[in-house]
Amino acid sequence: MTPEEMQAAIEALQGLSNTNLEIFYYWCTAIMVLIHAGFLMYEMGASRVKHSLASGTKNILAFAFMIPTFYMFGWLIYLSMWQGFTYDPVWGEFGLPMSAIMGPNMADQATGVFWGAFTLFACTTASILSGAVIERIRMASFVVLAVILGSVVWNLAASWGWHPAGWLVTEYGYHDAVASGVVHTISGFFALGVLINLGPRIGKFNADGSANVIRGHSLPMTITGLMLIVVGFFGFIGACVLYNYGVGGGWTNIYGGPTTLSAYLFNTLMGVAGGIIGCYAMTRDPFWMMSGALCGVISVAAGLDLWYPPLAFAIAFAGGFLGPWAAKQIEKMGIDDAVGAVAVHGVCGVWGLLAVGIFLGGYPGFSSWDGFEIPPINMTGQVIGAAVMIATGFIPGYVLSWIFNKLGVLRAGDGVQRDGMDNELEGVAYPEEIRSR
């Protein structure tokens, strides 16, 4: 082979590699849309008939608003704010909405698919909030809160803890491979901040503080929706792995540390199974049994690249116990979280971060990206990371919803809640057999 032929072969391989990268993230993103199909069914099923369309509309609007806003400033924040609150113009240039790579560009096969995957992560954060606040939040205020969460807050935290240069990673060795903290803890505690100001659904609590069960109109729809979310998670998890960035062209985790897709698949499936069985053992409630799949995956997500699979099962099983227990404690505090989002995403997310500190401490930090030194995994880094995620989620959620509440635009009035949130929309959910208004 002549040097020219060798060079041509190398260029052909590079072209093939770029195409493979595009194909991989393109389909991961497509599969992630199933998360939103799932959240849509889940929330509508968990709502009473008179609120079901409003719940679904709210969910779809969050999805739709996230896409342009993540294009406008979300991607920019993720790429550029890794130092804290200081903008890095070098990285930021790649995420500016008027950058030459933020659109059709024959010289760039990566930006669009990575932007797309991160946009779908952002949509997931908004959907987590969406479920918690059903049946009483006003639509426009919810959309604004969702945009702040999905296109500002979570990606700021991701820049700190889910980026090879992020200060939580390089200074403390924070390890959160599949976003227990930067997606789930952030969203769960943002939702908690909003719920405190939003207040409970009418009829949720009695005068003595005891809670009533408000059943949604279709548990089968909710359970099927949860199963769709699990399917979509495989796209989510695939998009958390970097293709062809490792030494010798292998897979890496989000920080550039070596891994394989097989590692992720072993532990994702163990997480799903452990969470379902743990929640079933704890509650024998079909709703919680299926929510257990989320409890389990979220509990193992931070260390998904490293667990021994039976350990992942055990951690997920514990998450399956923790989720419904935490939901009960939150309810005792007088907070009405309609779908247990704070417990499932917030509390299990924290558990996932701490489990990494407990069971994976000492694993070396490594990045195949030039110039990034990452300390070994350690408990201090995980605790600091968890505290940062809780605060970064809770504070903006609480403050913004407090402002909206003072302006009188956060919570629907008692009359609208009594007659049904669907009254704000055109159309009825079940026009022939079941009254929706």
Binding site: M98, P104, N105, M106, A107, G413, G415, D419, E424
Partner: protein
């Protein structure tokens, strides 16, 4: 109509991106999109206010 293309032929083109030489066009599109996000929220607020008034 806007004559936005920076190229006149695909032959020899290496990096092709729309509106590459039209920053004004990009800015106009960007702000139109921004307005298209804000207006529906205002419409939604108004619909909510009406529903509140109708369901006291």
């Amino acid at each position: 109509m806007f004559q936005s293309s920076p190229i006149t032929s695909w032959e020899g083109a290496e990096a092709i991106f729309t509106y590459a030489d039209s920053p004004l066009g990009m800015a106009v599109c960007f702000w139109i999109m921004t307005a298209m996000l804000i207006v529906p929220l205002v419409v939604s607020y108004k619909a909510e206010e009406k529903a509140e008034a109708d369901h006291q």
